[in-house]
Amino acid sequence: MSTGDTGSTGSPASPVPRRSPRIRAFGLRTRLLLAFLLVAAVSAGTTAALTYREARTAVLQTAQDTAVSSFREQVQQRGFGLPVREDGGGLEEVLRDIARKGKPHPWVVFAEYGSVRASSGENPVSTVITPELRRAARADPHGSFERVVKDGVPYLTIAMPTVFKTGPDNLLPSGLVLYAVMPMTDEQVNVDALLMAARDGALPGLAVALIPGLIAARSVLRPVRELRQAAGSMGSGRLDTRIPVRGSDELADLAHTFNESAAQLERSVRELREAEARARRFASDVSHELRTPLAGMLAVTEVLDEDADGLDADTARAVRLVSAETGKLAVLVEDLMEISRFDAGAAELNTDEVDVGEAIRKSLDNRHWTDDRVRTDLPTGIRARLDPRRFDLVIANLVGNALRHGSAPVAICLRTETRSADTDVLITEVTDSGPGIRPDSLPHIFDRFYKADAARTRSAGSGLGLAITLENVKLHGGTIHAGNLPEGGAVFTVEIPLRVEGAGG
């Protein structure tokens, strides 16, 4: 039960906007899945790419090595006269013979010697062989090869300079360089197949990774969801909420910690509540104990008042003081007991259907507030189910408060308002013509024993009037709000939901 309340009470705190638990663009589930997929994609992709490269290298290496060594072997079996003759020397025949025996697939063989150009094919000069390969072959008598892509077709070009023996151990470059050009279409097909295989392996891998990803996300998210529900449950006051602890992972630790915290919180709250209950019981007990002697004293105050006139001045003053303070004490004790009943939840609402305007008028009549000090705007015919006694207290407290702390005239205005589809609200406004309530006092105006004016040590009332008013309004399911008018003057607004239909007797 909130006691140190702000001006406005009873209205529930505006609920924290809840995000939809399911569809969240970058929720934990999405992020987990994405991370999982990313890892899977990177590893599958890397593996596939590396495998592909290795396999491709192996395929090409094999083809190249085979080609180069068989080309050298083929060439070494030949003999050439020097100078090499372009015509009639059977050069092209030799080249065609070499080309036919090409491995792994047939080559086109070119020969270059001086200005002699010959080939096993139709064109004596290759368009595929690069100047770099020629330069390398000329500069350095070593076999060499180069992969060339021309018009999208990969070629292996091999340059094979020839040497001949000038002595048993002496070799001399002959000036004749043979070139073999081999289209690598088969290798291309193989490599492409490899690529397909890598891709076809990686993509299903990714798809398969989605399943453990979903399972992992679920297993991570379920405890998180439980935590959220538990936290929400705690927040709504069910302090005995606990989470089942499964396994021994970090989430289990978290659940464990949550449970411990919840237990601690529950214990603290229970202790706090017990302490509060003790304090309230104490206040209640004290009031009860005070009431009996007060009952005796109050019964005889009249005797004191009447006989005071016959006493000497000092005694008379003392007697009147005792009498007056006894009355105030009685009011204070009565108010304390009323508050205690509210605190204990023992306050009962004895409702009756009444004409509200008439009820207010009777309240004012009973207290003789019938002169100019109180102005009323009370439409007739507004009926509501109220506890007449409590409503009378609310009106009397607000008007009394306005007369005491504000200044006359005090206006009471009654009206009904339709809030939503089927809730009508009874609105009672009590306005005074005083300076209004200081802004720093507004949040505490309904606190018990709150003194808006620090200079005044004891108000004329018990100091519980507005607190009891608040409780009475809340008991009716209504709200009370304190504020200031723009032109000055405090205004108290009581809103009570109307329930016209109901039991009459």
């Binding site: 990177v42 006269g81 003759r85 090869f145 340059a159 000038t166 048993p168 000036g175």
Partner: protein, 180 residues
């Protein structure tokens, strides 16, 4: 601020592995290569016989030396054994024949004038020759033609140092350096 940093780190976590994969993914199919050396040259049969053939060096169109094997008609009464170097030098000075020219071979040597005869004075590792031409005016290709022809004539491995002296008295020396 924090949020920006977090976003950046998230982006980084995404970009880094993708960037790391790019070079792997790149280069599908068969890529080109540079020129790659693969083993030695091919040793072919050139039918060279030191006892009957002479080895002449002419200039190839690309500027390199191109050896030519020539089998001269033997004088019926000539002694067996290698052809004398003087004869070989004379053959070189006579220039490429038709079949050599057909292969694009040329000579850098001037046409031989009449004059002192060719003298060859071999000693171990060194050959001294006197030539009936002006050595001073010879260019590098011509000197090389002479040097290699003489060196291989004297020695199967062509390693000998060759000294050329012309009728103009100029003298050059060098080695062939074509052998492997």
């Amino acid at each position: 601020m924090r949020r920006a940093r977090r976003l950046r780190s998230t982006a980084l976590a995404l970009v880094v592995p993708v960037a790391a994969m790019l070079p792997l993914l790149g280069g599908c199919g068969i890529p080109e290569t540079d020129v790659i050396e693969a083993g030695g040259p091919a040793s072919v049969q050139a039918f060279f016989n030191r006892d009957s053939d002479m080895l002449l060096f002419f200039r190839a169109p690309d500027g390199g030396m191109s050896p030519v094997i020539r089998t001269p008609d033997r004088d019926p009464g000539a002694t067996a054994g290698p052809i004398p170097t003087e004869k070989i030098i004379q053959a070189l000075l006579d220039g490429p024949r038709d079949e050599d020219r057909a292969a694009g071979l040329t000579t850098a040597l001037p046409a031989p004038g009449t004059g002192p005869t060719i003298e060859v004075d071999p000693s171990p590792g060194r050959v001294t020759t006197r030539l009936p031409l002006s050595v001073k005016n010879l260019n590098a290709a011509a000197l090389r033609q002479l040097t290699c022809t003489i060196a291989y004539s004297e020695d199967p491995d062509g390693q000998a140092v060759v000294q050329l002296t012309g009728h103009d008295g100029a003298s050059r020396s060098g080695t062939c350096g074509l052998a492997l």
